[in-house]
Symmetry: C2
C-alpha cells in the first residue's frame, strides 16, 4: 500500500510539473538559454535543401510524416495505416486492399516507431518500416517513391508497441505484444489472465533485394507487457532486447496494480539461435489468421493474401536463447548504444537509469548467475549484469539515443528535460528543459552504429501555450537542439501533425538521389491503363461501365460521356499521360462516393461512381496544371434506368 | 484558327517557362534577391507566437490548414469536407452527419477559398467560411474552437468555385456555379448546353450572432462558367462581382473552344436590390435538394436537415440589378480594392490587367451606355467602365490583393512572378519571381477594407526541386514576402499540405483571446455523456450494447468488460473527464471498424465496434497523457453468439 501511495505521489508530482504556467516558463527559458544565431542555424533559404530527412510517425493519425531538418518544415505526409482523402489512399481501387486485416477493412491505425533499413549497422535509406499499434501490423515504405508498398498483419498479438525495429542488416523487423492476450485468441475470463495469457514476439524477415516481408517465427513469451525493443548491434548483433512491464500480470487499474513489483525485466533474445532452431524444424505451427498486403509497383495495385498459420516457439524449448535482465520501476525505453555493449533500461517511475552490460550478460549466462526464473526463463542477477547507473538524473526517464561520440541523451517525461550523460562514467554532462513532457527523442542515425550526431529532436507530449492557440485541440510539438558542442543548444520549436510518437532521421544525401520523379508510362502495367488518347474509351458490361480515360495538359479523353444510367456502377480508370516531374492531374466527379484521385505522371487510378440522379454532371481537374487548368473539365450525362440513350463519348467535337 | 494557334502557343510558352532548370533558377534567385536577415525576420523563437494566423485551404484534401506567419509553421489541420482518421472526423457518430449531401455520404471534398467574417469591412475573426468545389457546399468554422460547425450544400449548381466570399458585414456568403448545368438538373443532351444550361449564383445569409447559414435566393444566371467573385466594399458595398469564362458556352475541349471570344465578362450584381425584390415576394420557388448539417456545440453532435426548394430569381426580372462588364481573354481572378472603387479582372491569357471603375460603372448604367446584351442582361461598354490597364505586366495574370497603401499585387502564373503596381497610375513598381507558377496570393486582411499589409504569401502550383525530393509527389509550396517597404523582399519558402488554393490571414491578437481551452464538462449536453466514474456502465438492448465510459489520468471506467458476444453492435460513448488545457485522451479498440477517437477535455465521442471473433481484446489510450499512460488500458471479453456469460464490467478490482 505504501508503495502504491508513493507511486501515486510520483505521478501527481509529474502532473504538477507539467502544468507549468507562463511565469515558470520564463524562468525555464532562461535556464534553457537559446543558442546564439539560432535563427540562422535553422533557416534553410528559399531553394536550398534541408540537411536531414526526419520520418516522424503520425501516432493516432496512422501515417508517417516527412520533415526537413533543421528547418522543421513538413515535406510530405505519407499515408500508411489510414485512409487519406487528399491522395485517395485507402479509397481508390488500387490502394484500398492495403487496409485489409483479418478483422476486415480497418480505415485507420495508430503508427508508432519508424525505423530506417540498415546495412552493416548503418542506415542505407532504402525503406522505412513502421508499426501499427492497435490492429497489429508492420508497414514498409519505399524511399524511391515515398509510398507504402507493403503491410503485414501481426497475428496472435495485441498492442504492437515494441516494434518495428530492424536488425543491423535488416535481416528482421520485429514486432511485440504490449497487451498480453490469449494466443491464439479464445474466449476466457479476464480474471484468469495470469499464467494463461501470452506475449508473443514476432520476427519478420525482410528480403534483401525486394524488401518483401515474411513472418518467420513467433516466440510465445510469458504474458507480460512488451513495451519497447532494440536490436543488439555491433558486438551484440544477433540479440534483441525487449523491455517488459506489468510482470505482475494485473488486468485492472494498471496504473496502480502494474506498479507493484520493484523490478520488471528486459528480455534478451538470441534470435540467431532461434532462427537456427526453426530452420532445423523446431517450433510448432499454430493457427494465426493474418493479412499480407502488397502494392505491386508495376501494376500499381495492391492485393491481399490471407494467411492461416505461423511457427510458434516455446521459450523453454531453446535453452540458452532467452534471459530476463531485471530493471527497476516499470521500464519503458530500451536502447542499445552504437558499440552494442550497453543496454539502457529506463524505469519510468524511477529517478535513476539502469545500464546493463552485454559482456557482463554473456558472462552471467556462462556462469549461470541466476536470481530466479519466470515461467522457465532464467532471470539473471541484477548486479551481475549491471554496467552502471545514472543516479538521480531526472524524473520519469523514457528513451535514450546516442551521438556516436560516447554520449547518451535521455528524455525525462516528468521533469520535462533531456539529459546528456557519458557512457562508461555515467556522469551527467548537461541538461536542457523541454516544453513540455518529452516522450521520445531522435538523433538522425542515433539508432545505428553511426549516428550523424548533429541534431537532437525532442518530441513533446504536451504543447499548451507554445504556439498560437487553436481551440481545445493543439498540435503536438517538437524541439530541435544542436548537439554538436559540449552543451545542448535549443534552436527551434515546431508543431507536428498527429502524434509524432517517434522518428527516424537520415542524412539527406543517402536518400535524395534515389527519389523517383515520375512513373514511367512504358513501365505502367496497370490492368486498365490507357497509354494514349486514341485508346480512351467507354465500355458497358451489364450495369457496370468502365471508362478508360487519359489526362494531359489540359484536357481529359473522353471529356463528354452520354448513355450512363441511374443505377450503373461506373469505374473511372484514369491515366496521367504526363512524363514531366511534378505535373499531377486530379479528377473530381460531383457527388462521387469515393475519394479524391490525384494521379502522378505515368500513374493510373480507379474510382467508382454510382450515379443516383438523372442530369448532366461535370468532372474536372483538381490540381492546377497549366494556364488552361480551369478549362480541363467534362460532363457525364445520366439518363433514367430504362432510357435508350446510346453509350457515346467524345473529345474535341463542338 | 489563327487565334487557337495563338492561344496554344501562349500555353506552350507557359509550360516552357515553368520547366526552369537549376541553372535558370540560380539566375532567377539573384534577381529575386533574398532579403537581408531573412532568417531572423521569419524566426519565431521557442515559446514565442507568430504574428498572424494564415488559414490555407487544403484544395484536394478538402480541409483547412492553419499556419503561423511569418514562421510558416503548420499549427493545425481542421477537417472540414473530408474524413480525417487522426481526429475521427466523419467517422464517429458525432461528426459523420457533417459529410451528408443530397447525393448521400461523401467522404471527401475539394476546398478552395477561405474567407474570414467581417464587420464594417474589417476582419472580426469570428468564423472562417470555405467552399467545397466538387459537391457544392459551404462550411463555417468557429474560431473559438477551430472546428467545423456547419456545412450547407448549394443545390442546382456545379463546381462551386466563385465562392465563399463574404460581404462586408457578413450579411451573405456567396456561392457560384463554375460548370454550367441544367438547373434544376435533368437528363438532356450535352450538345444542347448552349442557352439551356444555367449558372446559378447563390446568396446565403449568415445570422449575425450565431453564424447560422440560410440560402436566401439563387440568381439563375446564363450558363457561363462563374470562376471567381468578390464583394463590393466601402463605396461599392451592396454589389458583388463575378468573373465569367466560357461565354462561348462550349462543352468540349474547352482549352481551345472556351478561348474563342476576345472578351468575357465580370457580372456585377446589386444584391441589395435583389434581396429587396425577394423580401417583397419576388422570385420563384424551385426544386432544390440539399443537405444542411449543423454541429451543435452543446450536444457536441451534428445533425442533417434535408431541404427541398430555393427561391430562384430570373436576372431579367429585376431591372437595374445585373450588368456585364467586358474583360479580355478569359478572366480568372476578380478583386476589389479596399476603397471599393476598383474592380480588377485578370484575363488569364492576357499580358494586360484590366481595371474597371465602380463610379464609371454607375455612370454607364445611368447613361445606359451598353455595348449589347447577353440573355437579356445589359453588357456595359468596355471603355466606358474601364479605369485603366496595367500594360504588359507579365504573362497569365490570375489574382490581385492590396496592401491598403495604394498598391496592388498581382500574380502571373505563366511568367511565374508577383507584380506590384500602383492604383490610379497603373505603373509597375516592382516584380519578384515565384518558384514556380504562382496561383493565388494572400495579404492578411488583403481582402478587406483594412489590409494588415506587412506580408504577402504566394501559393505556387509547381514545386519541383524546391525541397528535398519525396518521390513523384511533392508538396505544394508557399513563399513569404515582406511587403512593408517599396520593394518586395522574399523571406521564406515553406511547403504546404494539400493544395493551398487560397488563404485568408488575420492578425493573431484578434483571434487568440477567444480561443477555448477546454469544453466545460457541466456544459456538455451530449445525449450519452457520463460526467463521473460512478455513472460509467454497460447496457444491453438486444444485440446492441452501449458502453458509457469515462477517461481520466490514467484509467478508463470501466476498464474490463465481459458478456459481449460475436454479432453484437457495441457503441462506446466515451467522455474525457479532464478539465485542464491540452489533456486529451484517445481510445483505440483492436480491429475497430471506425476511426481513431481523440477526445478533448470535457468532450464526448462515440464509436461502434462489431466484434467478429471470440477472444479477449484490449483497448488503450492513444494520446500519451501521463507517466502512467502505458498503463491506461482495458479488455473486452467476447464470447460466442449463444454463450451465457453475463454482462459485467469492472474498475480497479484485481
Amino acid at each position: 500500500m505504501k508503495r502504491i501511495l508513493h507511486l501515486i505521489a510520483l505521478a501527481v508530482l509529474g502532473l504538477f510539473l507539467q502544468s507549468c504556467n507562463s511565469e515558470e516558463k520564463g524562468e525555464k527559458e532562461k535556464s534553457g538559454a537559446l543558442a546564439a544565431n539560432a535563427a540562422e542555424r535553422v533557416y534553410v533559404a528559399p531553394g536550398e535543401h534541408d540537411e536531414y530527412y526526419g520520418f516522424f510517425s503520425g501516432g493516432f493519425s496512422g501515417q508517417l510524416s516527412v520533415y526537413g531538418l533543421p528547418s522543421g518544415r513538413l515535406l510530405k505526409v505519407i499515408p500508411v495505416f489510414s485512409q487519406d482523402a487528399e491522395k485517395g489512399y485507402g479509397y481508390n481501387e488500387e490502394t484500398k486492399a492495403m487496409l485489409n486485416t483479418s478483422f476486415g477493412f480497418v480505415p485507420w491505425g495508430d503508427s508508432h516507431h519508424p525505423d530506417i533499413s540498415q546495412t552493416k549497422g548503418e542506415l542505407d535509406g532504402r525503406w522505412v518500416f513502421i508499426n501499427e499499434n492497435n490492429t497489429p501490423r508492420i508497414a514498409r515504405i519505399d524511399l524511391t517513391t515515398f509510398e507504402t508498398t507493403e503491410i503485414i498483419e501481426v497475428p496472435n498479438s495485441a498492442g504492437n508497441h515494441s516494434s518495428s525495429f530492424v536488425t543491423e542488416n535488416t535481416e528482421y523487423v520485429v514486432a511485440g505484444t504490449r497487451f498480453a492476450v490469449p494466443s491464439p485468441q479464445k474466449d476466457m475470463p479476464i480474471s484468469e489472465m495470469k499464467g494463461n495469457f501470452k506475449g508473443p514476439l514476432t520476427f519478420i524477415s525482410v528480403h534483401p533485394e525486394t524488401g518483401r516481408m515474411n513472418i518467420e517465427f513467433q516466440i510465445a513469451m510469458p504474458g507480460f507487457n512488451y513495451d519497447l525493443s532494440h536490436p543488439g548491434r555491433n558486438k551484440s548483433h544477433g540479440w534483441f532486447f525487449f523491455t517488459t512491464y506489468n510482470t505482475e500480470e494485473a488486468h485492472s487499474l494498471l496504473e496502480v496494480n502494474a506498479s507493484q513489483n520493484d523490478k520488471d525485466y528486459i528480455a534478451a533474445i538470441n534470435w540467431k539461435k532461434i532462427e537456427e532452431y526453426v530452420k532445423n524444424g523446431g517450433g510448432e505451427k499454430i493457427k494465426a489468421k493474418y493479412a499480407h498486403n502488397v502494392f505491386d509497383e508495376h501494376t500499381q495495385t495492391a492485393t491481399t493474401t490471407m494467411k492461416e498459420e505461423v511457427v510458434s516457439v516455446n521459450p523453454t524449448d531453446v535453452p540458452g536463447a532467452i534471459y530476463f535482465l531485471p530493471i527497476p520501476k516499470s521500464p519503458h525505453g530500451c536502447d542499445v548504444d552504437p558499440s552494442g555493449e550497453y543496454i539502457v533500461g529506463a524505469g519510468k517511475l524511477s529517478a535513476d537509469l539502469t545500464i546493463h552490460s552485454f559482456s557482463k550478460m554473456l558472462k552471467a549466462i556462462e556462469e549461470e548467475n541466476y536470481a530466479g526464473e519466470a515461467y522457465g526463463v532464467p532471470v539473471l542477477d541484477f548486479e551481475a549484469v549491471r554496467a552502471g547507473s545514472v543516479k538521480q538524473a531526472g524524473l520519469g526517464p523514457l528513451h535514450t539515443e546516442f551521438d556516436g561520440k560516447g554520449n547518451a541523451y535521455t528524455t525525462f517525461f516528468i521533469s520535462s528535460e533531456v539529459v546528456k550523460w557519458k557512457l562508461d562514467t555515467w556522469e551527467v554532462v548537461d541538461r536542457k528543459p523541454t516544453y513540455y513532457s518529452v516522450g521520445h527523442l531522435m538523433i538522425p542515425g542515433g539508432n545505428s552504429r553511426k549516428p550523424f550526431g548533429k541534431y537532437l529532436v525532442a518530441m513533446n507530449k504536451i504543447t499548451k501555450d507554445r504556439y498560437l492557440p487553436t481551440g481545445p485541440e493543439v498540435n503536438h510539438s517538437a524541439q530541435l537542439y544542436d548537439i554538436s558542442g559540449e552543451k545542448m543548444e535549443l534552436l527551434l520549436d515546431f508543431p507536428t501533425v498527429g502524434e509524432p510518437h517517434y522518428a527516424a532521421g537520415i542524412e539527406a544525401s543517402i536518400v535524395k538521389e534515389n527519389s523517383k520523379k515520375i512513373y514511367k508510362l512504358d513501365e505502367n502495367e496497370h490492368e486498365h491503363a490507357v497509354k494514349n488518347e486514341s485508346e480512351a474509351r467507354v465500355e458497358r458490361n451489364g450495369n457496370e461501365v468502365h471508362v478508360y480515360m487519359t489526362m494531359i495538359r489540359s484536357h481529359f479523353a473522353p471529356d463528354n460521356i452520354e448513355g450512363i444510367k441511374v443505377g450503373d456502377k461506373v469505374y473511372f480508370h484514369v491515366t496521367n499521360l504526363e512524363q514531366d516531374y511534378d505535373v499531377p492531374h486530379g479528377i473530381a466527379m460531383i457527388g462521387a462516393n469515393t475519394s479524391e484521385q490525384l494521379i502522378m505522371p505515368g500513374g493510373t487510378k480507379t474510382f467508382i461512381w454510382e450515379p443516383k440522379r438523372e442530369g448532366v454532371w461535370p468532372f474536372y481537374c483538381t490540381d492546377f496544371c497549366s494556364a488552361l487548368h480551369q478549362e480541363m473539365q467534362g460532363y457525364v450525362r445520366v439518363s433514367a434506368k430504362n432510357s435508350n440513350v446510346p453509350l457515346t463519348w467524345g473529345l474535341g467535337e463542338d
